[in-house]
C-alpha cells in the first residue's frame, strides 16, 4: 500500500516547479563562498578533486555526478535543498567535512545553487523525488527491539555491519562506492560517528532512502514502515551512548585478588569493578609516515592493581583481525604510502580496490537481497577474498597496539615535564608496551624519538589478546615496581598514551592512530571515609554561629543591666531605623 502510494506520488510529481537553480547573481555569490571554503576539498570545478583529496577518506563528494548520500528523497533521486543545507550546516562527523556555522542562511543557499550547477542532473525534473515522510519513532520496547533484531538478521545487515553492529561484517573489508573508492561500514555501536546523523529520524531516513552510490541500499520497498521503525530501535539499542564521553584519566582500582591473565573469567570479573574510560585517537601527522585517515578513532581503557602487580585492559573496534603480517613501532613507511589507497601513486591496495569495484560491484545487489549473508561468507572473508589475484589488502601488516609510559616520572618541581608524546625524545625516553596481534605477546621498546626505538627487556610485561565480533581486547600485566621503567605507586598520576595500528589500513611503524598524553591514577587501596569531614564542617560552622549568638546576647544583657542601673531605656540604643 505504501509503495503504491509512493509510486502514485512519483508519477504525479515530476512538476518542473521543483527545479530551482537560483539566479545568475545567486550562483555567482555562491561561487565566491565555494571558492573560499569548499574548493580545496571538492575541487574548484566540483569534481571532488581538491588539494586535500588524496589525503582524506572518505573522499570529498564529486558534485558533477549528482550522487548524494544523505537525502530525504527516494533511492537514486537528487537531494532537496534542505538535505544539502543540513550537511553544510552540521557537517559529517568523523570525516573531513566540517559544519559551517559561520555561513549565513543566504550564503548557504547561494552555495547550494552553485553546487547544483556542477551537475546537469539538477536540470532534469525526472531526477527529483518527493521527500519521504519520517514517522515519529516507536517506543523502544523490548518487543520492538526484538522485532528489529529479527529484521536485522532477515535483511542480512550483519553481512556488512557485523553480528553486533561493530562494522565488522565479512564483507566490510571489500566495500567500495560507485567510484571504486573503499568506504567504511558504519560502526553501529558508535552512534557519534554516524556520518548522516545519529537521531532515530536520521537512522530511519538512511534505511528508507539508502545512501546513493554506496552499498547501503534503501529498504523502502522491502520493509514495511513499522519494521523499519523496529529496526531503528534495534540499531539504536546497539549504540554505546549518544556521545563518546572522552575522558582524560584511567582510575586504577585496588584489589586484594591475584591477577591471573590465563584465568579469563576471574580476570573479567576483576575488570568489572574498574571504571572504563574512552580516549580519542587521531592520526599521527607530525613525523614522516603520516596517517591522515586512521581507522580507529577511539580506545577504551581500564586498570586494576593489587599489592605487587598492575593490569591494563584496552579495547577498540576493528573491522577485521589482521593477524598474519608484520608490524613494529619503527617499521619504515615510504613517503608515497602516506597517501595510500587514494590517487594514482602506486599503493597495491589501489589496484585491488579498483579491480574489485569494477568486477564485483554488480553482484552486491544479489547478496544484499539474500538473507543468508552469514552462510555465504561463512568460511571467513579472508579465504573468500584470498582467491583474488592481489590478495586481501592489508594482509602485509598486522594489527597492533601499544601503551606508552614515560621511562621515569618528572623530577620534583617540574610536574608538567613529560617525554615528547611521539615516542619520547633524547632526554626523556618512553617505554612502549607493544603487542603485535599476530603473536599476541607484549614486546617492550624504549623510545627516544621516532628515529630511535630499541627493544628492551628490562621489564617483563605479559599480555593476553582476543578478537570477538569486531572488538580487540588486550590485557597487560606488569609488576608495579620497576628498576628500569616507571613504578606505579599508590595515589600517583602516571602519564599514559596509546597507539593503535590497523593492518588493513596498512598502518605500521609511525603510520598509526595515537593519543595525546593522558593519565592513569592509582586509587588509594584504602578509601578515606567521607562522612567525617562533612560532619566536621557542619559542626564547626554551628559552633561558630552559637558563639556569635551567645556573645551578642551576653553583651546586650550586660548593656541592659548597665543602662537599667543608669536609669536609661533600651530603646534609646537599640534598633534605629535601617
Amino acid at each position: 500500500m505504501a509503495t503504491l502510494a509512493a509510486a502514485v506520488l512519483l508519477v504525479a510529481l515530476p512538476a518542473g516547479g521543483q527545479v530551482d537553480l537560483g539566479t545568475e547573481e545567486q550562483r555567482a555569490a555562491g561561487k565566491i563562498v565555494y571558492d573560499k571554503y569548499c574548493g580545496q576539498c571538492h575541487g574548484d570545478t566540483g569534481d571532488g578533486n581538491g588539494y586535500a583529496t588524496p589525503r582524506v577518506k572518505p573522499k570529498p563528494r564529486d558534485f558533477t555526478t549528482g550522487t548524494y548520500k544523505f537525502r530525504t528523497t527516494p533511492n537514486g533521486m537528487l537531494p532537496t535543498d534542505d538535505d544539502l543545507r543540513r550537511v553544510i550546516e552540521i557537517g559529517a562527523p568523523y570525516t573531513s567535512m566540517p559544519g559551517w556555522p559561520n555561513l549565513t542562511s543566504a550564503e548557504i543557499q547561494n552555495v547550494i545553487y552553485y553546487i547544483k550547477s556542477f551537475s546537469p542532473d539538477f536540470e532534469n525534473p525526472d531526477r527529483y523525488g518527493e521527500p519521504i515522510e519520517i514517522p515519529r519513532p516507536l517506543e523502544s520496547t523490548e518487543e520492538s527491539i526484538a522485532r528489529g533484531r529479527v529484521v536485522y538478521e532477515e535483511q542480512g545487515c550483519a553481512a556488512c555491519h557485523g553480528e553486533v553492529g561493530r562494522g565488522d561484517g565479512p564483507s566490510a573489508p571489500t566495500l567500495v562506492n560507485d567510484k571504486g573508492d573503499p568506504i567504511k561500514v558504519a560502526d553501529l555501536t558508535q552512534r557519534w560517528t554516524y556520518r548522516g546523523g545519529a537521531t532515530k529520524e536520521d537512522i530511519y531516513r538512511t534505511f528508507s532512502t539508502g545512501l546513493n552510490g554506496t552499498p547501503m541500499p534503501s529498504y523502502a520497498d522491502s520493509l514495511e514502515i513499522e519494521d523499519r521503525q523496529h529496526l531503528v530501535n534495534y540499531v539504536y539499542s546497539l549504540g554505546d551512548g549518544d556521545d563518546p564521553n572522552y575522558g582524560t584519566l584511567i582510575t586504577a582500582v585496588y584489589s586484594e585478588e591475584p591477577i591471573d591473565l590465563q584465568d579469563g573469567e576471574t580476570l573479567d570479573a576483576l575488570f568489572e569493578t574498574a571504571p572504563m574510560t574512552r580516549f580519542p585517537l587521531v592520526g599521527q601527522i607530525s613525523e614522516p609516515g603520516r596517517n591522515f585517515f586512521p581507522s580507529v578513532t577511539s580506545i577504551e581503557a581500564q586498570a586494576v592493581y593489587n599489592r605487587d602487580e598492575i593490569a591494563f585492559r584496552v579495547r577498540w573496534h576493528d573491522l577485521r583481525a589482521d593477524t598474519s603480517g608484520r608490524n613494529n613501532p619503527s617499521l619504515e613507511v615510504p613517503m608515497w604510502d602516506e597517501d595510500n589507497g587514494i590517487g594514482d601513486d602506486g599503493g597495491d591496495s589501489d589496484d585491488f580496490f579498483g579491480e574489485f569495484g569494477g568486477e564485483e560491484a554488480p553482484a552486491e545487489d544479489d547478496f544484499f537481497g539474500d538473507s543468508g549473508g552469514d552462510d555465504f561468507f561463512g568460511d571467513g572473508g579472508d579465504d573468500f577474498f584470498g582467491a583474488a589475484d592481489a590478495g586481501p589488502p592489508g594482509a602485509e601488516f598486522s594489527d597492533a597496539v601499544a601503551l606508552q609510559f614515560p621511562a621515569s616520572l618528572a623530577p620534583e618541581g617540574t610536574p608538567e615535564l613529560k617525554p615528547y608524546f611521539l615516542y619520547g625524545d633524547s632526554q626523556n625516553p618512553v617505554d612502549l608496551w607493544f603487542v603485535n596481534l599476530t603473536y599476541g605477546v607484549a614486546d617492550t621498546f624504549r623510545g627516544r624519538g621516532s628515529e630511535s626505538i630499541e627493544p628492551t627487556e628490562a621489564d617483563i610485561v605479559e599480555a593476553v589478546t582476543s578478537y570477538d565480533q569486531g572488538q580487540w581486547t588486550v590485557t597487560y600485566k606488569r609488576r608495579r615496581s620497576s628498576r628500569a621503567g616507571v613504578s606505579f605507586a599508590e595515589q600517583q598520576y602516571t602519564p599514559v598514551a596509546f597507539s593503535v595500528w590497523d593492518g588493513f589500513n596498512r598502518e605500521r611503524g609511525n603510520k598509526r592512530a595515537l593519543s595525546s598524553w593522558f593519565y592513569v591514577y592509582t586509587e588509594p587501596s584504602v578509601q578515606p571515609a567521607t562522612t567525617f569531614p562533612i560532619v566536621r564542617a557542619a559542626v564547626i560552622v554551628l559552633v561558630l554561629e552559637l558563639l556569635v549568638v551567645f556573645l551578642v546576647r551576653r553583651r546586650a544583657r550586660r548593656q541592659a543591666a548597665g543602662e537599667e542601673a543608669a536609669g536609661g531605656t533600651l530603646a534609646a540604643t537599640e534598633a534605629p531605623a535601617v
Binding site: Y51, S96, V282, I285, K418, S516, R536, A538
Partner: protein, 272 residues
C-alpha cells in the same frame, strides 16, 4: 562579546539596581557584592575561568569587604546592626533558628560536593606564545627573528598577480597539511582537534595572528612543537616541525595564506 555570559551579567546588575532603589543597608550591600562576584565568576563567563583564580579573587574581595565594614566604629555598628537585631529580637526567633540550621547544612553540602568532584587529570599552565629565539636556522639559512619578514608580503602591492600565485600555493600547502588540526575555516577545530591537548591555534582569533610578527609564525611553522621552549610544553603539542616536509618558500607561502584568508596583517616590525 568579551566572552561574557550576558544574561547573567544583566541579572546581577538588575539586582544591584533594585537594591539601590530600595536603599538597602550596608550589610545587604556587602553580601550582595560578594555573592554577585561569586555568581559572576561561576556563571558570568562563556568560557569558565579556573576555580583557583576565582577563589583568589573572592578571598581578596572578602577581606576588602571586612576591612571596609570595620573601617570606622560607626560603620561597624551600622553593618552589624541587622545581625544584632536578628539575634536579639524575639520576633526574628524563627528566622534565627532557620539560619542556624541552614549555614551548617550549606557548609556540609560544600564539603560533600568537593569530595565528589570526579577525578581529573592534573592540569598545567603553558605559555601560548612563548618568546622565540633571537635567531634560528631553517634549511641552512639563518633567520634573524627581529628583522625577518614574509618575503612575499610586499607583492600584495607591487605585483598582485605574483602575490596571487604565492597565495594559491599557500592554499595548496594548507589543505594538504594543516586543516586536519587547524580546521577548514581555520577555527582551530579540525577533525583531529578533539584528540589534541593543547588544542590547535585558532587563526580566526583576533588575539593570535594580528598580534604576531610573521617571523614568529614562521618560527612556529618551521620548528613546530620540538622547537618550543619548556614553557610551551613541547612534549604535548602535535605541531610538526614543517621544515621536515616543506621548503622555505612553501612555509612562507602558507604563512601568507593564513593571514590573507582571515583578513589579517602580521604585526609590523618594531611594533610592540
Amino acid at each position: 562579546m568579551l566572552g561574557l555570559n550576558l544574561p547573567v551579567v544583566i541579572v546581577l546588575a538588575a539586582v544591584g539596581g533594585v537594591l539601590a532603589w530600595r536603599r538597602a543597608n550596608t550589610l545587604t550591600w556587602l553580601l550582595y557584592t560578594w555573592v554577585a562576584l561569586w555568581a559572576f565568576f561561576k556563571y558570568g563567563f562563556a568560557v569558565p575561568i579556573p576555580q583557583s583564580v576565582a577563589t583568589i579573587y573572592l578571598g581578596i574581595t572578602g577581606l576588602a569587604l571586612v576591612c571596609f565594614a570595620s573601617s570606622s566604629r560607626e560603620r561597624l555598628s551600622e553593618t552589624a546592626q541587622p545581625i544584632v537585631r536578628l539575634i536579639l529580637e524575639p520576633r526574628y526567633r524563627l528566622a534565627l533558628a532557620g539560619l542556624l540550621v541552614a549555614l551548617p547544612a550549606l557548609a556540609a553540602y560544600n564539603v560533600y560536593a568537593d569530595l565528589n568532584v570526579p577525578l581529573e587529570a592534573p592540569g598545567f599552565g603553558r605559555e601560548v606564545h612563548p618568546p622565540p629565539p633571537t635567531e634560528m636556522t631553517v634549511h641552512d639559512e639563518t633567520v634573524d627573528m627581529a628583522t625577518a619578514e614574509n618575503p612575499y608580503l610586499h607583492y600584495n602591492h607591487d605585483d598582485p598577480e605574483l602575490y596571487g600565485e604565492h597565495l594559491e600555493n599557500g592554499r595548496r600547502i594548507y589543505y594538504e597539511n594543516c586543516f586536519w588540526c587547524h580546521g577548514d575555516g581555520m577555527g582551530g577545530d579540525g577533525m583531529f582537534a578533539h584528540g589534541l591537548n593543547p588544542v590547535p591555534s585558532n587563526f580566526n582569533d583576533v588575539g593570535t595572528l594580528p598580534i604576531l610578527q610573521s617571523s614568529f609564525v614562521h618560527w612556529r611553522i618551521a620548528k613546530g612543537a620540538p622547537g618550543l621552549p619548556g614553557a610551551g610544553t613541547p612534549w604535548d603539542s602535535m605541531m610538526p616541525a614543517w621544515e621536515k616536509f616543506l621548503t622555505t618558500e612553501e612555509m612562507w607561502d602558507v604563512n601568507l595564506f593564513i593571514y590573507d584568508f582571515n583578513g589579517y596583517e602580521p604585526r609590523a616590525l618594531g611594533q610592540h
